[in-house]
Amino acid sequence: MSDDIVAGIRSGDVRAIARTISRIDNGDPGIVGIVKALHVHTGEAHVIGITGPPGSGKSTLVDKLVRSYRRDGFTVAVVAVDPSSPFTGGAILGDRIRMQAHATDEGVFIRSLATRGHLGGVSRATIDTVRVLDAAGYRRIIIETVGVGQSEVDIVRLADTIVLVSVPGLGDDIQAIKAGVMEIGDVFVVNKSDRDGADRVVREIKGMLETALVNGTTPPFALAGHGVAKAAAGYSDDPHGLPPVIKTIAETGEGVDSVKKAIEGHRAGLDQAGLLRARRLANVEHELRSVVTDRLTALLERDDIRSRTKMLSAEVVDRARDPHDAADDLMAAMG
């Protein structure tokens, strides 16, 4: 049964792929075997993460990138992540609207995911979803998330190349993507660049990147970008090797090919500089930690452990034990 599913996914069967993603999304424990079996068949795809604030035109940009990649002959998958309502748990996933032209193209697979209340959860579901699509043979996989906070960034972090989209006229402009997020960008896009203030946004992003360079606060990913720029022509023409800042008008397709070129250049650069492995190592390390954290959290919720926790807490309050001793006891009980 599970072999059939794996074979179905490998042969590109839409239903097998789609059902498996649902089971991953639902946290179905029975899916672990399939994900495990798929793992050896992954690693070929180039995974591209695209994020930016609401209204920045990401979906339109993704639509145009898909078109451009299809012209080059690549198969493409898109995973579009949107927030669930914190009140009802429901969600309206509307990113497909701008991509429906590709719905009947056999070489394109589009899947919408909701965050279902916990971004941590979806970022892990996204990793496995990408694995399924990778094993199914899609050669470019685009993950699109809305938002610019740390948690959304975690979702795109598993990508080989990260594209940050901003847009003029959103009030405090790039302020929104400053904190802790700027430094993970490999390619910066200023969309809707026919609007007033586009050049200012470009200048601000460049300024911020330069500051990071001068202060030496440029974190590992951007440093990788630095190396990449030297290694790969076509990625960035910045004299310091900083990530490129590209103006686009996704609506008309203007600048989209430059974005694609930068993404491809980045990937080629990672390869040439031997940095792809380093990057994936970091990603996997991050994933491993979160898988383990998840398992520990689940364990803590197990009935016997919960009641033991209660009992131990009472003993600590009654001064029959100290907290460290109680924790040792709990860890032992968890095995």
């Binding site: 839409v14 239903r15 792929i17 789609a18 059902r19 993603i21 649902s22 089971r23 999304d25 639902n26 946290g27 179905d28 424990p29 669930s84 309502s85 009802t88 748990g89 429901g90 969600a91 309206i92 996933l93 509307g94 497909r96 609207i97 429906q100 719905a103 009947t104 697979f109 589009i110 899947r111 919408s112 909701a114 279902r116």
Partner: protein
């Protein structure tokens, strides 16, 4: 394990009246479902392919232009061709009573006419899902 009902809300054909489709999309969301909204001017092929990729439990279509007798059965035909038999398909819009038997015989599970409370549609979807996992 958290199971969510996923519904594709689509406007097949050329008709641009999407007030009903948008209201139902919001109501389904507020009922805790995940709604994939595909917008206007969808062909049956686009709807079916999107429904499969999104692995939805239900496809909900709305037509006010009178093209339902052509477009709804076409969606059912394509689903059958692709051997998909576990997606619930429902329709709504301005659809004369006398067309309903034909649409049901084509496989549309239910037709919701003007004035149907959203709760009726929500309850119908919950009660008629074709799969549990």
């Amino acid at each position: 394990m958290e199971r969510k009902i996923r519904v594709l809300v689509a406007k097949p054909g050329l008709d641009g009246h999407d007030r009903g489709a948008k209201v139902i999309a919001r109501a389904l969301r507020d009922a805790g479902m995940e709604v994939i909204y595909t917008g206007l001017r969808q062909t049956p092929e686009q709807i079916v392919q999107a429904g499969m990729q999104e692995d939805v439990d239900c496809i909900a279509m709305s037509i006010l232009s009178g093209a339902h007798n052509h477009l709804f059965p076409r969606v059912m035909e394509l689903l059958k061709e692709r051997k998909v038999d576990d997606i619930l398909v429902i329709g709504g819009g301005v659809i004369p009573e006398s067309d309903i038997p034909f649409l049901k015989s084509a496989g549309i599970a239910e037709i919701f006419g003007p004035g149907t409370p959203t709760k009726v549609t929500i309850d119908f979807i919950r009660a008629n899902l074709k799969r549990n996992s």
